[in-house]
Symmetry: C2
Amino acid sequence: MRFQCAVASLQETVATVIRALNVRPESPALECVLIETTPSGIRMFCTDLSIGIESSLPATVIQEGSVILPGKLFADIVRKLPADIVHFHSADDQRTTIRCGGSRTVMKGFPSNIYPQLPQIPENITISIPQKRLRSMIQKTIFSIAADETRPILTGALLEIEPTGLTMVALDGFRLAISRTHLQTNQNEAHAVIPGKALAELLHIIEDKDDVIDLSLNDKYAAFTLASTQFITRLLEGEFMRYRQILPTEHTTRAVVPKHAFADSIARASLIALEGKNNLVRIQIEKDILTLTSNSDNNQIEEIIQPVEIDGKSLEIAFNVKYLTDINRVIEDDTYQMLFQTPISPCVFKPIEGDAFLFLVLPVRVVPVLT
Amino acid sequence: MRFQCAVASLQETVATVIRALNVRPESPALECVLIETTPSGIRMFCTDLSIGIESSLPATVIQEGSVILPGKLFADIVRKLPADIVHFHSADDQRTTIRCGGSRTVMKGFPSNIYPQLPQIPENITISIPQKRLRSMIQKTIFSIAADETRPILTGALLEIEPTGLTMVALDGFRLAISRTHLQTNQNEAHAVIPGKALAELLHIIEDKDDVIDLSLNDKYAAFTLASTQFITRLLEGEFMRYRQILPTEHTTRAVVPKHAFADSIARASLIALEGKNNLVRIQIEKDILTLTSNSDNNQIEEIIQPVEIDGKSLEIAFNVKYLTDINRVIEDDTYQMLFQTPISPCVFKPIEGDAFLFLVLPVRVVPVLT
């Protein structure tokens, strides 16, 4: 196997596929990245058996072939090569030479037939979506994916496909996040549960731009295809929680929250809440004032946001401050609504208009403070 | 105690003094930062008993006084305050209220008389030096300060004061770094050994600009004074190593090294050297070619730099790659000289002209490779 290519495209391709490299592989082959010639250049592929990333680059192929190389070392070497043409040669015993300018690295490679292959995804469902919209959907739900494995299905996010849009849902028992995008999918209803780890890696690959990404699904796998890169992930098996039945339909108090002031106040209150190790922030809603307070053994903080548009009854309620921080980090709108029923009912966060997101957070029941 | 001041200057001052905060204090008071009124505003002071930083800011003092507050929490709160006027009030029981916009934090403070005081430094030796020159001297020596405590005096850098300049020296048994700056000090010869930890913190405070910093010394302490900030450190006690007698006076081979190409080659070679866990890079000098090689069990790299101006005998020598990396990171010159005697004698790194720096590195004695 022998080819030549520009350093920059090799660097970009390696950096992309290497994201699927297993940090603690079950077999030595999984420490590797696959490099093989194609009719139009080079294909690289990396997998940890749960996700796989393949990407292609143009190259002048002098001799066809394939090899697998230790992935981290190969990526580190390539990243530091001088801006020049790379001369890549892998001998029959997989001894591989990478020449570039005055630099020559010889690495021990291994035969590519021991490397796991990508499953072929039959394209019975294929949807095109602008990258930035998929990116936003993932960002608005990924933080609510369950971290513990008690209910494995909740370590992923539910993707619901309808003829007119996509919905992504994640929940961890204390909070729920829904993100929607309206889109002509030309598909019947379908759904899949995508592992949280795959979504986290996908966020590193998709960019905040309008270029589309193609999503294909079958029963076991989802594939996301960009220009020269394909990202494949196994799906989680099992039934996702029926989340619609836990969404409140009524409220007794509604506050229109100025996002930036609220986020800043939460950031300050969280310092005391975290120092106190109770992680609690209390919210008091009365007239046109929203007050946040947090306490630790020795210190306390009070944040007053005024005027706030408030309809309905006065209310005092407490939350895990981390949940409020997470929500405020992903909401892009300058204002949004918080809908309350009682101090022990879930609180709903929604846009002023539309249904682009819905967050639901369980409050913490607290004993009134004696002061 | 009561004062008002602008958030921005409070934030800047707290961020400066907090660098002296002890992360694992021996007494609870050392978790704190001291705040006291002065005739012109506020003085803040923080110390871990080894170094101390004080800084002042303008403020409207309404009631004189002083308090100590938990340093990390106070700094975190102040950093997140909205851009506004801060109203600071500390009651007689040290209960302290920090108001700013709609934010009000109440912290438990402690009486300031339990806080350690700064020593007064009699200014028998005072030198003014542009910050960027002191910064460069520290950067060029700090990496050679001994990390282990076997010989405590080597965990600091020697500062030598002469009428015409300053010299800083650090060595750890395997390498030595000297940095010189020419300067009318108007001082007789003197010297002090400054702890490495103090120099590391000082690097965070002094900037890469021409504004001067004043250095004062006595037997036990050094003080560095900038506009509104004073940094004080204890000195290390004992005699520093007589380093002059180990500097080679002759050489048999001289190479004029292109810094950037050499640094890039070392960066690549270090990947294999570190993977092989031997950390070794071999340098071969012959005709006008400088060749670097590193090996691990499975992989090897060869870097050719050509043409290189070489005088004297051919030579093969090996180094710990980390030492070469450290030196190339701090040399600013585009070219410098390496002076060799034998494969087992120390190698000297010097500027082409002048004496702004001198690095000395012991080679590693290696058995010739059979290939």
